[in-house]
């Protein structure tokens, strides 16, 4: 584990050094980027080696007396470490040109501190080997990301987003703590491995509590409310890390707790699968209704977490039903989607960050035609969009294909397993169609057509350090889509430590599937090249002219007449009406020569809408009733503390 801790140390330096160098803005950024990036690279190499030739690696520090800090690295940790270090490395590079405001040098330095803390904490979360270490790393991760969310704290909405995120992450941590408390109470030990000895009823309770806690971090419906607020508030490379990687620690938590409890009941699978379907479908429906590009991408994280959970849920059901193929397909599909989503989502957030950086606008309907000025951004964003829609030959398709195959294996079961597998497949199909609608909207309205505003017209591409990570990510998206075998092997190795109880998993039947995908992709590319050659042959010596778009006889078109994102999504949203209530405000057009009018639409997130009456109001009411406890008298406060200690001494 030495190289791992060296990596953490270097990343930490990348946080601390900028604090002393903030007077030299460029130098400070360079040091921060180099140290964080270098540390990530070290960790990436180490994790890759650990995944390729798995050796059980553990280390214990006993500085804290009874509460020893223990770390270990198995293939599951190594898999997540690859995702964490890989995306963070690129995000760090991206930040060099993105953090361009020299007026806020001190704040940028602080940002690097919290960024490095976040990366280090995420790495520690997935390597933690006992309850104390885990919750400690988890809290550092939550708090450092909280400070990154409120980076632009002057804006009231960002403060609100930070506040919401803080509450959600702390309440989530409470649930995790409660789950851990039960483990400790029953086993009397902080060690992870003792959890397997719990009674069955305790295991269910632990799993449900942990699922709520981890789910609120991962953005599982209905615990996702913080996510669409926090992601737009943070800087774009931070959104990329948070959405691409940090929320995945929630997935890691769910898989890890499943492995630790070592109880292959179908109940866990049912819970995870149902939550996955809800998040998947509702996430993409809400995404479709968004007008803010980063908020839209944030809702897509909810959707993709849904897909991951569908995969893992199918896997858990497969384990319980004694169908190893289904189980391995579900788990490996889910885990591979963790990697894939990290890649294309961070790519998309970086693309959106470039748009925001150059135009200063996140409003989809104010942009347009950007691909002409921003070629690299536009092209990579298009690749990311194709990948997130799960279309071949891109990486999103590979993981969805595996999950589908797992689901079809589940259809052969009976009873609730059959019904849930069926629903899982149908949800995946609907999610795929909706994601396609959503990303044709984003690409079509933001990057294609004509600019809808002056800022979009004058936009241009700047910052090579921002472009390089996007190109790298787009390339990896294609490589995984065409040659998935290596990455499938990685996912299979990670699945081996997910506690399915199979011992060694044979690679062959799964490699056959990925090889088929490679063959199909090769066929497609051959066909594409042939047709392109044919096309250029057909256009040889032909007159090719350009002219305005056919306006159906109308001779005075303006850019305002273009279809907007809102109108594009309107009819689909209407179909999902009860689940996605839409409120519109529109002043009617009056008279022969109507003056200005406006249209505003907002799609309500059911969870957010119901949170107010169902959670916030009762909690406020309760605490209002308890206000007399808080009287401001310091003597009585000391009395409370004494009383608490005495009670604890006597009764615990």
């Amino acid at each position: 584990m030495n190289q791992f801790f060296l990596a953490i140390l270097v990343i930490g330096c990348g946080g601390i050094l900028p604090l002393f160098l903030w007077r030299q803005f460029a130098l400070m950024k360079a040091v921060g980027v180099l140290a964080i990036g270098g540390g990530c690279l070290l960790g990436l190499v180490d994790a890759w080696a650990k995944l390729s030739s798995p050796v059980s690696d553990a280390i214990v520090f006993s500085y804290l007396g009874n509460f020893s800090l223990a770390f270990s690295m198995d293939t599951l940790s190594a898999f997540f470490l690859i995702v964490i270090f890989g995306v963070s490395l690129l995000a760090a590079i991206y930040s060099f040109h993105y953090m361009s405001n020299a007026q806020k040098a001190m704040r940028t330095a602080a940002h690097y501190l919290f960024f490095s803390l976040l990366v280090a904490a995420m790495a520690l979360v997935v390597t933690a080997a006992n309850l104390i270490t885990f919750i400690l790393a988890w809290e550092i991760m939550s708090l450092s990301s909280f400070f990154l969310v409120i980076y632009n704290y002057e804006a009231a909405e960002n403060r609100k987003a930070g506040y919401l995120y803080f509450i959600f992450s702390q309440v989530g941590a409470m649930f995790i703590l409660a789950a851990f408390g039960i483990i400790y109470a029953q086993s009397g030990s902080f060690a992870f491995k003792e959890a397997a000895a719990l009674s069955e009823s305790a295991k269910i309770l632990v799993f449900v509590l942990a699922f709520i806690g981890f789910g609120s971090k991962a953005g599982v419906f209905p615990f996702h409310v913080w996510l669409p607020h926090a992601h737009p508030a943070a800087s774009s490379h931070i959104s990329a890390v948070m959405s691409g990687v940090m929320i995945k620690t929630g997935i890691y938590g769910i898989v890890r707790i499943y492995a630790l409890l070592d109880w292959h009941t179908v109940i866990f699978g049912d819970i995870v699968l149902i939550a996955g379907m809800l998040s998947g479908v509702l996430g993409v429906v809400y995404a479709l209704g968004q007008h803010d590009i980063k908020r839209l991408l944030a809702y897509h994280s909810v959707e993709n977490i849904g897909i991951i959970l569908i995969g893992i849920g199918i896997g858990m059901i497969g384990v319980a039903a004694g169908k190893p193929v289904m189980a391995v397909l579900g788990f490996s599909g889910g885990l591979l989607h963790v990697l894939n989503h990290a890649l294309f989502k961070s790519l998309l957030f970086m693309g959106a960050g470039m748009v925001l950086h150059q135009t200063g606008s996140r409003a989809i309907d104010r942009l347009g035609g950007l691909i002409k000025k921003m070629r690299v951004t536009g092209t990579t964003f298009l690749i990311g969009s194709l990948a997130i829609c799960g279309l071949p030959p891109f990486n999103g398709f590979v993981s969805e294909f595996l999950v589908y195959m797992g689901g079809f294996n589940g259809v052969a079961l009976s009873g609730s397993d059959f019904a849930l597998s069926l629903l899982g497949i149908i949800s995946l199909a609907i999610i795929g169609g909706l994601a396609l609608a959503c990303f044709t909207k984003v690409v079509g309205v933001v990057f294609q057509g004509e600019p809808r505003s002056a800022v979009a017209r004058d936009a241009e591409e700047k910052g090579i350090m921002m472009l390089v990570p996007m190109v790298v990510l787009a390339a990896v998206c294609i490589v995984i889509g065409v040659f998935p075998t290596l990455f499938m092997t990685m996912a299979l190795k990670a699945v081996a430590s997910a506690g399915l109880g199979y011992g060694r998993i044979p690679m062959e039947p799964f490699i056959v599937m990925t090889a088929n995908i490679t063959r199909a992709a090769a066929l497609f590319f051959t066909l594409l090249l042939l047709v392109l050659a044919l096309r250029s042959l057909l256009y040889r010596a032909k007159t090719v002219t350009s002219s305005g778009t056919w306006g159906c006889g109308f001779t005075q078109p303006t850019v305002k007449m273009q279809y907007t994102g809102s109108s594009y999504a309107a009819s689909i949203l209407e179909f999902f009406q009860p689940a996605a209530p839409l409120s519109e405000s529109h002043s009617p057009i009056k008279g022969r020569f109507p003056t200005g009018t406006h249209y505003h639409s907002h799609i309500h997130d059911l969870a957010e809408k119901q949170m107010e009456p169902l959670v916030v109001k009762p909690v406020l009411w309760l605490f209002d009733k308890l206000r007399w406890l808080q009287h401001g008298d310091i003597h009585l406060y000391i009395g409370y503390i004494l009383l608490a200690i005495v009670l604890l001494l006597f009764f615990v």
């Binding site: 294909f401 169609g433 079509g444 294609q448 056959v512 599937m513 497609f524 032909k542």
Partner: protein
């Protein structure tokens, strides 16, 4: 392999003629003589000879759109068992790949339409993105039923070999629902009446036609040819369900298959002749019917047949 290649070439060559057959049927109902069966060939040749006019708003995506949607449709044909012959390519789970490939084609068709900045094309694109969502659910529901019946997940297993899916086998009765559902999906995915009217002249009411308004020359020919292939693919599915018979002799199989195909295309033509298109907000309900039908078929199969 040889036979499969011949059948594939035959399918590619016949696809435009079958599409012209629909026009013949419609002309018959209209009391007209109608255009010749080779009309689409004439059009394609004319288009291939022409140059193109590109809108100043467009980018390279606009040029990629026709090519990619054409490639997707062609590749799908390579995986379809034509006349009960084993297809050129096949693997476990290929149906999923094919449906997603058609999705890729759709993505680029929509993107090409959005590239023109035309409000009408945007409108068509929004509809093109909407209705197939429900179709996909229907198709995956169908796959689940087929998987239950055959234990396989590739087109070759469903429609060729010893035990193809068909109306006339023991488990076949619920498949009548599937046939109707697939026919609805066929009408929707290929922009036929009552979902879309390929012969309409008002841009506001078009779906597919309006999206390709700005394409011209060879690009437009690729779009046309791609849509003939796509229609052929869906018709093959319906045909093989209605007529799953194979004699073992390829020539006899070919005659039976292509004859039945003509019947399916006639059914499309008759539908177009006797129905008006639905109001836009009625279309989702129409498409959703197909999902309900397959769902019932699955329930019936599970409860009574198996």
């Amino acid at each position: 392999m040889m036979k499969s290649t011949i059948f594939l070439v035959l399918a590619v060559l016949l696809a435009p003629i079958y599409a012209a057959w629909i026009l013949k049927v419609k002309a018959f109902f209209g009391g007209r003589k109608g255009s010749p069966l080779l009309i689409h060939y004439y059009t394609l040749i004319k288009l291939f000879k022409k140059g193109s006019v590109y809108s100043t708003s467009t980018t390279v995506i606009f040029k990629l759109g026709p090519v990619i949607s054409f490639c997707a449709a062609t590749m799908v044909l390579m995986f379809v068992p034509i006349a009960g012959q084993a297809p050129l390519f096949s693997f476990n789970g290929d149906v999923i790949l094919l449906l997603y490939l058609l999705g890729l084609g759709r993505f680029f068709t929509i993107a090409a339409a959005m590239d023109t900045a035309s409000p009408f094309e945007g409108m068509g694109a929004a509809r093109e993105a909407y209705f197939p969502i429900i179709c996909e659910a229907t198709l995956f529901m169908t796959l689940i039923l087929f998987y239950l019946l055959s234990g396989d997940l590739n087109l070759a297993a469903f429609f060729s070999g010893g035990q193809p899916m068909g109306l006339w086998q023991a488990a076949g009765v619920p498949l009548l629902f599937v046939v109707i559902a697939l026919f609805i999906v066929l009408l929707t995915e290929n922009s036929r009446v009552p979902v879309d009217d390929p012969a309409t002249h008002l841009e506001l009411t078009m779906i597919h036609e309006v999206m390709v308004l700005d394409h011209s020359g060879p690009d437009f020919a690729f779009i046309e040819l791609g849509s003939f292939f796509k229609l052929f693919f869906y018709s093959t599915l319906v045909t093989r369900l209605v007529c799953p018979f194979t004699s073992g002799h390829p020539a006899v199989d070919a005659v039976v298959f292509f004859g039945c195909m003509a019947l399916v295309y006639t059914a499309i033509g008759v539908t177009e002749s006797v129905m008006a298109r639905y109001r836009m907000d009625k279309v989702p309900k129409f498409v959703l019917t197909s999902f309900a039908l397959v769902f019932f078929a699955t329930v019936i199969t599970l409860e009574f047949v198996k």
